[in-house]
Every structure is written in structure tokens, then in C-alpha cells.
């Protein structure tokens, strides 16, 4: 009971409250900087959105991943770190493992930062590689919008929670994200270690393979909304495909309903770009350890933190394009009219509205980060040939087909309704396959005796069909 109350307390009050505070701070900092010089709002947003929000979420994810894996494997997870000084209550303080984060950072900073003899001939490239892995990922958040444009303060400045909103929005993401491949391949090569080289070559080959699917996955969204600006894409998702009542209620034109295939392509490809399990053959800690095997201390830390920043940025981009960004699914206009128009409670306090929607954005981002953790700890590592097959023989043709099917439907019906009909049908099919398919597949598997389970075919079959019917999804049961 106490545990449930704690979880509710965190999920309902603390986390949304923290994001509300961050968004409000972002608005006011941006407002202040805009007063100093033109274009200052974006610079202010760098401070709060990129340096605070993204980095804090990414840092907390390092712990969340360990805690979540522990929960899935029936362990407690990290909970030992504490401060060995001061009064007893400080020494006893564990904070649910939160102190492991500063402990890890301090450990990595104060570790010996040595260079193996083999790498000394490529000293410059060896030093450059972790920087090249970190910097592109760090600057990716630049074009991602995290809050609506509102009018703020006495000078009535128009402020939006976005660092920069250039015409080429998504192209910036593709261009910068593909730079990260240099970091990994240079790290693998310059370490002068056979395993590191293997990891680096695998990483670069995998990343460029999936970059094609990454690009193709989003072409469909560009066609439906006729823009590459993430801000405009988010705004385009406020319209309703169908209104169910006369009021402000209906099915929003979110990307996930219009382009489920595009979402799957993009998500799978971007997941492969982050090189996390099940796509972690470049790292493969149980076989080759990977392209960063010769790096120690904070240089390794740069590789690691860039992976987690990538997780956050991927979740943020998916939120902006496929899940309506900061928008509520419905009722947003009604709520605004009820609270923020002339004579209502919050009239004149638009920052509350902005910060509220900003916290919605971050909650969606957190949910998608959680999905990524779930995938990371659910699936075993793919073999390298499976990864290449998935990228070239499945995602690439599927991406091409998706582009042209989307194109035909958009041209046929510019109101996007038929695209949504197809999209929802695909979503239903995917959900049905995911829930019903597991039992059947396992049964067929056991029947053929392919997986080596021939002897215990019956027991295996019965075992596999239980979760398919009870929980219906990949989420583990919580009781």
C-alpha cells in the first residue's frame, strides 16, 4: 500500500511538477534573454532545455535503466551508495539509489585516463573520437520544440520553447545525427585493438545501414504535413480527423494514426542508431566489448552519456512528430477557453498554460524513454546478419512502399482521412499480431523443433501461451 502511494505520489505530483517548473523556468529565462538581444530566446532555451532538461533526464535514465532492469529481473537494483560523513541520518540516506549517479560521475572523472601503447600513434584521433561521439548527439535537441508559442510579460514578447526553428528542421537532425558514426568508427580504428576495430566496423556498418530506413521512415510524415519543420508538424497535429461530439472532442491527427509504419521504421532505425540492445552487436559486452574497449574514465563516460542523451532526443523527436508534441489529444481549446480567456481564473498568465503544455511534452518523452528501456531489457541481442537483413531486406522495402502508398492516399484524399483509416487498420493489425502472434509462433516453433525445444514442446507451448492471454502485451505483470 505504502509503495503504491509512493508511486502515485511520484507519478502524479513530483514528475509533472518538476517538468512544469522546468518549462516555466524555460519560458522566463527565454523571456529575459530575448530582452537582452534579438534571438536571445533561443539562447535562453539552450540553458534550460538542453543543458538542464535533456541532460538531467539523460542522467536520471542511467539510474532508471539499472532500476528498471532490476525490476524486470526481480532484483533490487543499485541502492548502496551513500555519503560517509556528517550526521547519522545523512549517512543512512539512500534516496532509492539516486546517489549512485554522482558517485558514478565522480568515479569516472577521477579515474586514471590512460592511453594504451597501441593507440599512441593515433593520439589525435584517439582523443577526438569520444568528442565526436558526444557533440553531435548533444546538439541534436536544437530543432525539437518542447512548448507552444505564447505571449509573455509586459513587453508581450512571443516566446516558444525551441532553441532554433530553421526552415530545414528535420534535415538538421539527419545531418547531425549521421555525424555520430565518425566517433564510433574512429574510436574503433584508432584504439589499435582487434576487438575495438571489429566493434567500430560493425557500428559504422550498422549505423549507415539504418540511416536509409531512418530517412525513409519520415518521408511519409513530410508528405502528409508538407513541411520539415518540427514546430509546424506539431502544430499540424492539433486538427481533428473526426469530431465525435459538437464540443472539443475527437480523434486528433497525430502522426501515429496517420503513419504507424513510418513510426515503426523510424523508431526501429533510430533504436539501431543508438546501438542499444537488441542492436548492440558493436558493443556486445559478452563477446567483444566494443569500440570503446580501450577508453577509460570520463572518455568512456562520454560514449555512455551520449547513448542516453540519444535515447532522450529520439523520444523527443518521436513525440514531436508522431504523438502530437505538447498537445493534449483533445479538449485543449475548450480548456484554454475555460481558464485563460478574458475574465477567467488564469487570464493574463499565459506562462501557466505554456508550462502546463510543456510538462505534457516531457511526460510523453518520459513514456517513450520507458518504452525504450522496456525494449532494451526484453529482447536478446540480434545476430549481425539478422541486423543487416532487417535493415536492408525489410525496413528499406517497407519504407519505399510506405512512401508511395502514403503519397497515393494523400493525393486521393487531402483531408488525410483515408490515410488515417489505413493507419488505424495497420495499428490494429500490429497490436493483434503482437498479442495473438506470440502464442502461435511459439507453438509453431515448438512443433518444428527448430529452436531445440523439441523435447519439452508441450511444456514450452503451455508456458508461452499464458502471458499472451493474460497480460496481452510485452509489459511484465506487476503483481
Amino acid at each position: 500500500m505504502k509503495r503504491i502511494l509512493m508511486v502515485l505520489f511520484w507519478m502524479v505530483l513530483v514528475i509533472p511538477g518538476a517538468f512544469f517548473g522546468i518549462s516555466a523556468a524555460a519560458y522566463w529565462v527565454a523571456y529575459f534573454f530575448e530582452g537582452l538581444f534579438r534571438g536571445g530566446a533561443g539562447v535562453g532555451n539552450i540553458l534550460v532545455l538542453v543543458l538542464a532538461a535533456v541532460m538531467i533526464v539523460a542522467t536520471l535514465l542511467t539510474l532508471a535503466e539499472r532500476k528498471w532492469s532490476a525490476a524486470m529481473q526481480d532484483r533490487v537494483g543499485p541502492n548502496r551508495a551513500h555519503i560517509e560523513a556528517g550526521p547519522t541520518f545523512i549517512q543512512k540516506m539512500r534516496l532509492g539509489g539516486l546517489l549512485h549517479i554522482p558517485a558514478d560521475v565522480l568515479k569516472m572523472l577521477w579515474k586514471e585516463d590512460f592511453m594504451p601503447a597501441g593507440a599512441r600513434s593515433n593520439r589525435f584521433l584517439f582523443n577526438l573520437a569520444p568528442m565526436l561521439a558526444f557533440a553531435p548527439v548533444f546538439v541534436l535537441f536544437c530543432v525539437v520544440p518542447a512548448g507552444p508559442m505564447i505571449t509573455l510579460g509586459e513587453q508581450a514578447r512571443k516566446i516558444a520553447l525551441i532553441v532554433s526553428n530553421p526552415d530545414f528542421g528535420l534535415l538538421y537532425v539527419f545531418a547531425i545525427a549521421s555525424l555520430a558514426v565518425y566517433g564510433t568508427s574512429l574510436a574503433g580504428w584508432s584504439s589499435n585493438n582487434k576487438f575495438a576495430l571489429l566493434g567500430g566496423v560493425r557500428a559504422s556498418s550498422q549505423m549507415i545501414s539504418y540511416e536509409v530506413a531512418l530517412g525513409l521512415g519520415l518521408v511519409g510524415m513530410m508528405m502528409t504535413f508538407s513541411t520539415v519543420r518540427l514546430f509546424d508538424m506539431t502544430e499540424a497535429q492539433t486538427q481533428y480527423l473526426w469530431k465525435f461530439t459538437d464540443g472539443d472532442f475527437g480523434l486528433p491527427a497525430w502522426g501515429i494514426f496517420l503513419q504507424p509504419v513510418g513510426f515503426l521504421l523510424f523508431f526501429a532505425a533510430a533504436f539501431a542508431e543508438t546501438k542499444r540492445a537488441p542492436f548492440d552487436v558493436p558493443e556486445g559486452e559478452s563477446e567483444i566489448i566494443g569500440y570503446f574497449v580501450e577508453y577509460s574514465g570520463m572518455r568512456f563516460g562520454l560514449f555512455m552519456i551520449s547513448e542516453f542523451v540519444e535515447v532522450v532526443v529520439l523520444a523527443a523527436i518521436c513525440t514531436a512528430i508522431f504523438f502530437g508534441g505538447w498537445h493534449l489529444p483533445f479538449g485543449e481549446k475548450a480548456l484554454y477557453a475555460e481558464l485563460f480567456t478574458q475574465g477567467k481564473v488564469f487570464y493574463g498568465h499565459q506562462w501557466i498554460w505554456g508550462a502546463f503544455l510543456g510538462s505534457i511534452f516531457w511526460l510523453k518523452v518520459l513514456a517513450l524513454c520507458w518504452v525504450q528501456l522496456l525494449i532494451r531489457w526484453t529482447f536478446p541481442r540480434f545476430r549481425y546478419d539478422q541486423i543487416q537483413t532487417l535493415g536492408w531486406k525489410m525496413l528499406l522495402p517497407a519504407g519505399l512502399v510506405n512512401v508511395f502508398v502514403t503519397g497515393a492516399l494523400v493525393l486521393w484524399d487531402p483531408s488525410l482521412r483515408w490515410l488515417a483509416v489505413l493507419g488505424i487498420a495497420v495499428l490494429v493489425a500490429i497490436v493483434a499480431l503482437a498479442t495473438l502472434g506470440t502464442g502461435g509462433e511459439e507453438a509453431a516453433h515448438a512443433h518444428d523443433g527448430h529452436g531445440g525445444h523439441g523435447a519439452d514442446a508441450h511444456g514450452h507451448d503451455a508456458h508461452a501461451s499464458v502471458p499472451a492471454h493474460v497480460s496481452g502485451a510485452i509489459a511484465p505483470s506487476t503483481h
Binding site: 534571438g39 533561443g42 539552450i46 538542453v50 572523472l109 579515474k111 586514471e112 585516463d113 590512460f114 601503447a117 597501441g118 569520444p130 568528442m131 558526444f134 557533440a135 553531435p136 548533444f138 546538439v139 508559442m149 532553441v163 532554433s164 530553421p166 526552415d167 534535415l171 584504439s191 589499435n192 585493438n193 582487434k194 576487438f195 575495438a196 576495430l197 559504422s204 556498418s205 549507415i208 540511416e211 536509409v212 518521408v219 511519409g220 513530410m222 508528405m223 508538407s226 566489448i289 580501450e294 570520463m298 572518455r299 563516460g301 562520454l302 549481425y384 546478419d385 543487416q388 536492408w392 528499406l396 522495402p397 519505399l400 512512401v403 508511395f404 503519397g407 494523400v410 493525393l411 487531402p414
Partner: protein
């Protein structure tokens, strides 16, 4: 939204600069703070505890090169799709047909590569 077309570039430039500076500072902070006690053993190439044999400058599978070449072909295709996708509604069915022809030629290429087995990694 942007009356001034150059307005988005200042924050972007600041962020790009900050990313570079931060990456350099963090990695040099690490080498500055940590101890320095190099030993002969520590400097050897790490091979999971066993004696290191040979060196890393060896040949590796040609498939990685093939993938790199294929990547260029199909990524350039994707790059051509972006401007078309943005202007897609204005171009209408004619533009759709044109792009279908362009994509079809590349699909033929993909089919050829597939048939030749350049995408197979099992062997």
C-alpha cells in the same frame, strides 16, 4: 514564424559551439583530474586477459565496403525524396509518377543486389 530568415542561426551556432566546447572540456577534465601511473602491463592492448597476438591493422570482410557503397546509393535516393515530399501536394500526380519512375530504377538496383547475394551475411 520567422520574419528574419537569419534569426534561427544565432542560437544554433551558440549550441553547436557549446557542444564542441563541452566535449573538449569534459575529456580534458578527465585527463587532468585523474592520476597518472602508467605501467607496461596497463599499456598493452586489452584482450580480455589473454596475451595479445597479432595487431589490429588487418584485413576485414569486404561486405562492410559493399554496405557502405549501397548506403550511398540509397541515402542519396532518400535525400532526393525530401524536397519532393515537402512540395508533394503542389506537384500532384505528375510529381508522384516522376518520383515513382526514379524510385523504380533504384528498386531494380536493389533487386539486383539482393539476387546477387550482396545483402546476405550468413556465409
Amino acid at each position: 514564424m520567422n520574419p528574419d530568415p537569419l534569426a534561427p542561426y544565432l542560437p544554433m551556432a551558440v549550441l553547436l559551439l557549446l557542444g564542441g566546447v563541452l566535449a573538449v572540456v569534459i575529456s580534458f577534465l578527465a585527463s587532468f583530474l585523474g592520476p597518472k601511473k602508467p605501467t607496461l602491463q596497463k599499456a598493452t592492448t586489452f584482450e580480455a586477459g589473454s596475451e595479445s597476438s597479432g595487431h589490429a591493422r588487418q584485413r576485414f570482410a569486404v561486405k562492410f565496403y559493399v554496405v557502405a557503397l549501397l548506403f550511398i546509393v540509397f541515402d542519396v535516393e532518400a535525400v532526393f525524396l525530401y524536397p519532393w515530399a515537402v512540395k508533394f501536394r503542389d506537384l500532384g500526380w505528375f510529381g508522384y509518377g516522376e518520383m515513382a519512375v526514379f524510385a523504380a530504377t533504384l528498386v531494380v538496383g536493389l533487386a539486383y543486389v539482393w539476387k546477387k547475394g550482396a545483402l546476405d551475411w550468413e556465409t
